[in-house]
């Protein structure tokens, strides 16, 4: 299904981490090696100019996927293929991180932070052209060219996230991985950043892989949504289809638990249970320990992703 319309294709991606105790402990305490399967057989494509969101709770592997796609971790198995970009070479991916306080070097001036990728990739010849490009980038993200001379601590959280975005755009990427870009921000500032990201996507034709735990933000940003649970995609569909007809019980649980401002569900009985440890995932369908509809078969058989009627995919024995 390789197609030139897809910016990135991810095929059966698996990442295993070795979380064993140190060698001496293993020898003395006779403990076996332990591995954590953070991401298992994850397959998805992101069409050019579109946004795919990965959602799930902490530990579901969504951030690991982000790091695999940007090459910060090598995959254990599987392949990630980027489509050719504007210059014919594979598209370049860049990342926007969650915490704008931790992802900017406090000793560097903003101008140098943004100029680093330009200098590194020799995208402009000469300092004058680089400085002009930095000013242009700062203006694009809604800051002033004068801000290049200031240090990160002089900016608020929202402004710092704008600087992160300017830095990510500096290498002229066509694909951006955004790992919880607004979850460290206040809501009124979150709206500014989300609006900026939508505008940049329209102007520059960017493709986003958007990682978030916040379904209301995801609904605003994404064309398609993939829901992850314990390292696997359990359901994937176009945003409107997923909200209109969630077929996996976990997706339903997530949709049910997000507080809705306009129609608060005050008296609903909260669903019980917590995600199991990814170190020791349950057999069969990983969700059966919390699933209200689970039957005996769910404990034995791991459901495969099967097509939904609307072109999405769902991994549930009962949805078939």
């Amino acid at each position: 299904m390789r197609s030139l319309d897809n910016a990135v294709e991810v095929d059966a991606l698996t990442r295993v981490f070795d979380v064993s105790d140190p060698w001496l402990n293993r020898m003395i305490e006779r403990k076996p090696r332990r591995t954590l399967r953070a991401v298992q057989e994850v397959t998805f494509t992101v069409p050019k100019g579109r946004t795919l969101a990965l959602v799930g709770e902490s530990g579901c592997g969504k951030s690991t996927v982000a790091r695999l796609v940007t090459g910060l971790y090598p995959p254990t198995e599987g392949a990630i293929t980027f489509a050719p970009g504007r210059d014919g070479r594979p598209m370049m991916a860049q990342m926007i991180f969650q915490d704008p306080h931790a992802s900017l070097n406090p000793r560097w001036k903003v101008g140098d932070i943004i100029a680093e990728p330009i200098r590194e990739f020799r995208l402009r010849s000469g300092e004058a052209a680089t400085a002009a490009r930095v000013s242009e980038l700062l203006t694009t993200v809604g800051l002033s060219p004068d801000d290049a001379r200031r240090f990160p601590h002089e900016f608020s959280g929202g402004q710092r996230q704008r600087i992160s975005i300017a830095r990510a755009l500096a290498s002229e990427p066509e694909f951006l991985v955004c790992d919880e870009p607004t979850s460290a921000l206040d809501v009124s500032v979150q709206a500014q950043i989300l609006n900026l990201m939508r505008r940049l996507q329209d102007q520059l034709g960017l493709t986003y892989l958007f990682i978030s735990h916040d379904l209301s933000v995801v609904r605003h940003m994404a064309d398609r949504i993939a829901v992850m649970y314990l390292g696997r995609i359990v359901e994937e569909a176009a945003t409107e289809d997923l909200f209109a007809d969630p077929q996996h019980p976990y997706t339903r649980l997530l949709l049910d638990t997000i507080p809705d401002l306009r129609a608060p569900k005050r008296d609903r009985a909260p669903s019980g249970g917590e995600p199991p440890s990814p170190l020791n995932p349950p057999p069969g369908c990983a969700f059966h320990t919390r699933c209200p509809q689970a039957v005996a078969r769910c404990k034995l058989e791991r459901p495969a992703l099967t097509p939904r009627a609307d072109g999405g995919r769902v991994a549930c024995l009962l949805a078939q």
Binding site: E57, S58, S156, G157, G158, Q159, D186, V187, S188, V189, Q190, A191, Q192, L194, N195, R198, H213, D214, L215, S216, V217, R219, H220, T239, E240, F243, L253, L254, T257, I258, P259, D260, L261, R262, A263, P264, K265, R266, A269, P270, S271, G272, E274, P275
Partner: protein, 321 residues
Amino acid sequence: MTDPVLEIRDLTVEFPTRRGTLTALDAVSLSIRPGEILGVVGESGAGKSMTGMAVLGLLEPPGRVAGGEIRIAGQRTDGLSEREMAQVRGRTVGAIFQDPLTSLNPLFSIGRQLVETIRLHSPLDRRAARTRAIELLKQVGIPGADERIDHYPHQFSGGMRQRVVIALALAGNPRLIIADEPTTALDVSIQAQITALLRRICKEQGAGVMLVTHDMGVIAETADRVAVMYAGRLVEIGPVDEVLRAPKHPYTRGLMGSIPALGARVERLAQIDGAMPRLNAIPPGCAFAPRCPQATAACALTKPRLGPAGAACILLEGEAA
């Protein structure tokens, strides 16, 4: 009409610094009745946590209460000595903080921490205190409480740990519970469990709860009334339904518009441009005036007071009369 468990009148908190005195809370007034959950929302630095800390008597020096009064269950607590305040904390007021990992001592089993807290506030002996501890753990919904009581904090998940912290806060049977971002460190599905637990405990025990959070969703699902703070001032207060459905203050309106809705997707979110002023640069009139789309010349000069309509905005003063 029962007496409020918490009454704050014109509370002002100041931080004297070398470059002048910063006003972190500016004449904040609110009250909480027994069995009521008051949500306090605002952006970082708006003073919502500061309000909770002032009530608990835990302001970081050089911060100090510079004016106004705090009454907990009828007793005036601002100006109490540290020793007297320690008597009030735990017994009359319980506290739940954001990160359950830092509010529990990792070196002691949760049973030991609970028993210590219970015995500090009541004359029970060790055995009776342990029975009471198991009771508390059951009450906050920890399965297998008689076994789990001997476990250490790291053996619990985040949600379960927060339940333990709630059990600790309940140990002294407090009349008032200050919950500062109790669900922020938790996943959404766990968050719903904890807010439901808070509501249940508040109704069962008749305790008043001050729920400090930045998350409007949590407020919508948990609180009875809500107080909106901006730059150290209370800008709007009222029943949750009214404030969320028909916000009066321009800041609250902007805030509500900037939250992506679940129901429908819009092309562009309403945004409030700019950022909240820093404490050393709060404008003389209305603190929101520089960002307010409806601001008039008068807004920059007159500091608005919280009117009978429940909002501090001079543009609304005509309407309320």
